[in-house]
């Protein structure tokens, strides 16, 4: 019996395959006292659970390569640690039940590592993962973390965190389905990077059990359980046509009448670099630098940053690379840059504002970018996140110039910056619109909440109004204006953005082909007419429907 579930679609592809669920971390059962013979058996079970986890990690390490293998090897050694097993067993013999003894023993070592600080403290996440795995083993619960059914699968989860997704292999994961999350959640961004179809915020997904066949349609935002074979075959044929069409046009982005629209890729980590550099693009429109700072107790050194930036500039020799300086805070808190006591982190000290409190962070980063740019043929631009007033853009541009970085720009994510885009544009060399945050702040809607997804729809006419203000201000002052949010990845919306006056689009590498094909099939005047239609619509759904109807 087929069943159709709906959610928020990501990407324009589709894929079919069996479900494999990602289990949540195990919850500890109510504590109980163990005594006598039971304690000896429980202690043996605790030791066995740790041994099994160590064996699991060794097996995974053998299948992995490079840095991932090294981390897994270290985790295997930690799980096999004799002192850890002795401590947990001793707690059981003193009367604590197995799961709580494991949690307590891991907790003691966690505190030890945290106290050691620096590199040592960065291992606590590995330890937490091992604790969850050992407790799950002991209780006979499904293993938390990514499933490994031994064949390609559709990953179904409550939600995905960046740590889960770093290990995700696009060769075995066919599509992503999550119960929570909105159109700009980590899952959605990751799906675009990997070119995977996804449906997020799909509440019915909790009914999907391991092994059940599903058809995931990113364009329609649907998950069909137990689909008919004909339906799967039709979807596969459609997918094949879509891929062929996207591959037909190559080279720089332009409309059919030759109006150039630079097509750039978003880059968020060095492991994405080979695929990003290989993509047919004119450079990087958004190089997110947070990956250098995440999961650390201290900011990365000048040398470490320089080496990472140089790697990117070398891979993009002869092309443009727009580096966004550190955007910490809100959903990306950093121990050394984020105040722990903010009531409203999304409205707190984040983005460029962290540089006001800690100028050294920005100074070191700009120095590293400048040093890495020396002798490189990449066209290196820098931009500041979360600019609110023209003065901030001017200060940032001055700081960049002081380091020899001539092309500095401001991100337009705060509505105030869009409303005063003319003055912001005059204060620096270019503007880049981050549609995800601009939507969040314009609609006062938390971008991580799936239930507010409708307000965060990039087709919202009010959001398009703000984008037009920024684009027109750029045109008046001779400044390029790019879009680097998820909006740039939608081929129909890309035409509307071009019509509004946007001069470059930056998206995940896998999305560029379709955007390029759409531009090549329309004139600039077509794009302007589509933009007018979208702006005249009363709501997001109508705007999208009218533009799609015009496109046929």
């Amino acid at each position: 019996m087929t069943a159709l579930m709906t959610g928020i679609g990501v990407g324009s592809g589709s894929a079919a395959g069996p479900v494999a669920r990602m289990a949540p971390p195990p919850a500890l059962p109510a504590p109980r006292t163990v005594a006598g013979a039971e304690a000896a058996a429980e202690a043996a079970a605790v030791r066995a659970a740790l041994c099994q986890v160590a064996a699991d990690m060794e097996q995974r390490a053998a299948a992995a390569a490079g840095a991932a293998a090294e981390v897994l090897c270290a985790q295997a050694l930690m799980a096999a640690d004799p002192t850890l097993a002795d401590r947990a067993a001793a707690l059981v013999l003193d009367g604590t039940d197995g799961p709580h003894a494991l949690a307590a023993a891991f907790g003691e070592f966690r505190a030890g590592l945290e106290a050691a600080g620096g590199y040592f403290a960065e291992r606590v996440a590995d330890l937490d993962d091992l604790r969850d795995r050992s407790v799950a083993r002991l209780l006979g619960l499904p293993m938390p973390g990514l499933p490994d059914p031994g064949h390609p699968y559709v990953l179904v989860a409550d939600d995905l965190a960046p740590a889960d997704t770093a290990l995700l292999d696009p060769a075995t994961v066919l599509a992503l389905v999550t119960q929570r999350g909105g159109p700009t959640s980590h899952t959605a961004i990751l799906a675009k990077i990997l070119g995977l179809p996804a449906v997020v915020g799909c509440q019915d997904a909790e009914r999907l059990t391991d092994g059940r066949p599903v058809l995931v349609d990113g364009a329609a935002g649907t998950v069909e359980a137990d689909p008919r074979p004909e339906t799967v075959a039709e979807a596969a044929a459609r997918e094949e046509r879509r891929r062929r069409q996207a591959a037909r046009t190559r080279g720089p982005g332009r409309t059919s009448d030759g109006h150039p629209v630079k097509l750039l890729v978003n880059l968020g980590a060095l492991h994405e670099l080979p695929a990003a550099a290989a993509a047919d693009s004119e450079g990087v429109g958004l190089f997110r630098t947070e990956f250098l700072y995440l999961d650390r107790a201290q900011a990365p050194s000048l040398e470490e940053q320089t080496a990472a930036y140089r790697e990117v500039f070398t891979a993009f020799a002869g092309r443009r690379v727009v580096v966004r300086t550190l955007d910490a805070g809100a959903d990306k808190p950093l121990p050394f840059a984020t105040a722990p006591d903010e009531q409203n982190p999304a409205l707190g000290i984040r983005g460029l504002r962290t540089a006001t409190r800690d100028p050294e962070l920005l100074r070191t980063q700009l120095a590293a970018i400048a040093k890495a740019a020396e002798g490189s043929t990449a066209e290196v631009w820098v931009m500041a996140p979360m600019v609110s007033v023209p003065e901030e853009a001017a200060d940032f541009a001055a700081a960049a110039r002081a380091h020899g970085l001539r092309t500095a720009g401001a991100m337009v994510e705060v509505p105030a910056a869009a409303l005063r885009a003319g003055a912001v544009a005059r204060s620096c060399e270019f503007l880049s619109i981050g549609t995800n945050d601009l939507a969040q702040y314009a609609f006062a809607a938390d971008r991580t909440l799936g239930s507010l997804a409708a307000l965060l729809d990039p087709w919202q006419p009010a959001l398009l109004d703000l984008i037009r203000m920024a684009a027109q201000a750029g045109e008046r002052h001779g400044r390029p204006v790019g879009v680097c949010g998820e909006a740039a990845a939608d081929p129909a919306l890309a035409l509307v953005l071009t019509g509004l006056g946007v001069t470059s689009l930056s998206a995940a590498p896998s999305c560029l082909g379709e955007v390029r094909a759409a531009l090549a099939a329309h004139t600039l005047d077509d794009c302007r007419r589509l933009a007018d239609r979208a702006l005249a619509a009363p709501d997001a759904a109508t705007a999208r429907a009218e533009v799609l109807a015009t496109l046929g």
Binding site: E70, C73, A74, L77, M78, D81, P82, T83, L84, F109, G112, L113, A115, A116, G117, G118, Y119, F120, R123, L127
Partner: protein
């Protein structure tokens, strides 16, 4: 009891790869070897978590100790590992 004081030679300290190699080598020894930092209680050299929790950085000194047959050789082998720059071997 045989013991020896050694300076940590790896640039990242007794961490990640250097710590893993050290612990694996300790597990192969016929005797139990302990490792300690300035007056703190010694820990089992076969315990990666205990060794990491020492927080020993490049240039810090640690004391290795062991007892029984083969203690001298075990200490010598492990001391050489601690003194070497294990980060350099890629």
């Amino acid at each position: 009891m045989p013991q020896r004081t050694v300076t940590v030679g790896s640039r990242s300290g007794l961490h990640a790869r250097p710590a893993s190699l050290f612990v694996q080598a300790a597990a192969k020894q016929p005797v139990k070897v302990t490792v300690a930092r300035d007056g703190q209680p010694p820990v089992d050299a076969r315990s990666l978590l205990s060794v990491l929790a020492l927080g020993a950085q490049h240039g810090d000194t640690v004391v290795l100790a062991a007892e029984g047959d083969g203690a001298e050789t075990a200490i010598e082998e492990l001391a050489a590992l601690i003194a070497a720059d294990l980060d350099a071997k890629e």
